[in-house]
């Protein structure tokens, strides 16, 4: 990944210099080198802060629309760096007319999986000062205040990367990647099946425990590329579900069911919601449930596979299953 990273930074500088793009949407280090966050670089000079490393998990598709970066044509084109899974979100935003393709220049960047610093810390590693990668990208040498140590990348991947959807970019203008074509990793619905197989009371207890942690910070909504509405229902004070601390267990569920429902059929499973949740709530379990249901009920569908798709909730077939067939399954 280090080789790719260098090429990416050089190419971004080049495109800026030759005027192909007027700004770059990329990542820069936050307080620590592993706190990489989305950033907009408007001058060639500022590009010195651009990074692309194992901690650039943030999906920049949403960043493009939150800042309305790519909607104003006369400001020139914006270079955006997109990892394979980020391109699904980009397509979805194109489908929903939230982006103008012409205003964006996509540099597809190869990815071998992003790392979660909390998972590194969970191994008991403290005082991290730097990380080096082995040649094959499978091991990390973690430099710390107390000496160096080697760990497996596989053990510290971000949740979404553990079940990577595949290394193919779905849309790009230019590609810098040394990923050999690699299909999906693992089974991303395993976690959903596990929950489904529990008794209803156990499921209820599971969600009660998880959702009562929610502090309604709305980070999940803000990071979600499918949550792209200009006016969000959760910002409407009259809706009864506006941002505020939950006063009872039902309010917690209400927010999550509504949010998951709003993105059903549009969620690309980019994993951003779970990644950004400060409370560590496994929000992907909601989204994957919907993706799994949609696949089972209405046929395989991957949001963002290509731009211009018609989503499963805005189409139908005369012979669709009846909702009661879902509620008549038995049990309590």
């Amino acid at each position: 990944m280090q080789a790719v990273s260098k090429k990416v930074l050089d190419r971004a500088r080049e495109l800026m210099r030759d005027g192909t793009v007027s700004r770059v949407a990329g990542w820069k280090a936050g307080e620590f080198f592993y706190d990489c966050e989305p950033a907009l670089f408007e001058t060639e000079e500022s590009l010195k802060d651009l990074v692309y490393n194992r901690f650039c998990a943030a999906n920049l598709s949403k960043f493009l629309i939150t800042n309305d970066i790519a909607s104003v044509a006369d400001r020139g084109r914006t270079l955006v760096l997109l990892k394979p899974c980020d391109t699904y979100s980009f397509n979805q935003l194109l489908t929903e007319h939230r982006l103008s393709r012409d205003n964006v220049y996509i540099l597809g960047v190869g990815c071998e999986g992003m790392c979660d610093v909390d998972r590194i810390r969970a191994l008991g590693i403290k005082g991290i000062t730097g990380v080096d990668e082995s040649e094959d990208g499978k091991k990390l040498t973690v430099r710390t205040l107390y000496g160096d140590g080697e760990i497996d990348v596989d053990g510290v991947l971000v949740n979404k990367c553990e079940t990577c959807k595949g290394k193919a970019h779905k849309i790009f203008d230019e590609l810098i990647s040394d990923n050999e074509e690699e299909g999906p990793r693992g089974d991303r619905f395993e976690c959903v099946r596990e929950l489904e197989s529990m008794a209803p009371a156990e499921r209820f207890a599971f969600w009660q425990k998880e959702l009562s942690k929610c502090i309604r910070c709305n980070a999940c909504r803000n990071a979600c590329p499918a949550c792209s509405c200009r006016k969000c229902v959760f910002d409407n004070n009259a809706s009864g579900i506006a941002s505020k601390a939950n006063t009872d267990s039902f309010e917690e569920k209400l927010f999550h069911i509504i949010r998951a429902f709003h993105v059903a059929g549009r969620c690309t499973d980019c994993g951003e919601c779970s990644r950004v949740c400060p409370q560590g709530i496994p929000l992907h379990l909601f989204n994957r449930k919907y993706i799994k249901d949609i696949n089972e009920f209405y046929g395989e569908f991957a949001a963002g596979e290509e731009a211009g798709q018609r989503g499963p909730l805005i189409s139908f077939e005369a012979g669709d299953r009846e909702p009661n067939s879902v509620s008549d399954k038995g049990g309590d």
Binding site: F250, I258, Y298, I314, P323
Partner: protein
């Protein structure tokens, strides 16, 4: 449930026990009925002197697809024990396709409710035409019976909304 104690305590008249229970708890059911079919079906049921349970509160909507999933959740929050949505038979929607969309939405919503562990039997979708007064009354009686069996809704609902 106190019903059993009653049965044991006095000479055990089932009817009496039933009466005590009914006094304590009556299911509250919300029915979202499409203006063009089941709402008229309810009228027909009424004019044909067919009965349906008084606990069922009908809310008229212009089409089954007007029912936002939030309506259902909100009904539960306010203390409903069951929510039923009635629309025109597939293919007969006044707006051609509304009920087809509603059907997909509700299937997914019901599945999600099940997933988070709340009783799936508390929600239902039925297609009832304006000519089916008898069916309307049948559907409502069956649903009310089902909800009575399930008992009071405690898992989904804002307890502060209850007396």
């Amino acid at each position: 449930m106190p019903v059993n104690e009653n049965v044991n305590a006095d000479n055990g008249s089932a009817a009496e026990a039933q009466a005590t229970e009914t006094k304590q708890w009556k299911p509250r059911i919300v029915a979202f009925c499409c203006n063009w079919c089941s709402y008229a079906g309810a009228d027909l049921a009424g004019s044909s002197r067919l009965s349906y349970p008084a606990e069922i509160k009908i809310i008229r909507v212009p089409c089954s697809c007007r029912v936002n999933p939030t309506f259902i959740l909100k009904a539960f929050e306010r203390g409903a024990d069951g929510v039923i949505i009635c629309g025109c038979h597939p293919g007969d929607c006044h707006y051609s396709t509304g009920n087809y969309y509603a059907r997909r939405r509700m299937a997914l919503l019901f599945s999600m409710l099940d997933y988070i562990g709340v009783e799936r039997g508390r929600t239902r979708v039925e297609w009832v035409s304006a000519a089916e007064g008898a069916r309307f009354s049948q559907v409502m009686n069956d649903f009310a019976k089902k909800i009575s069996e399930l008992g009071e809704n405690v898992k989904v609902g804002d307890l502060r909304c209850r007396q």
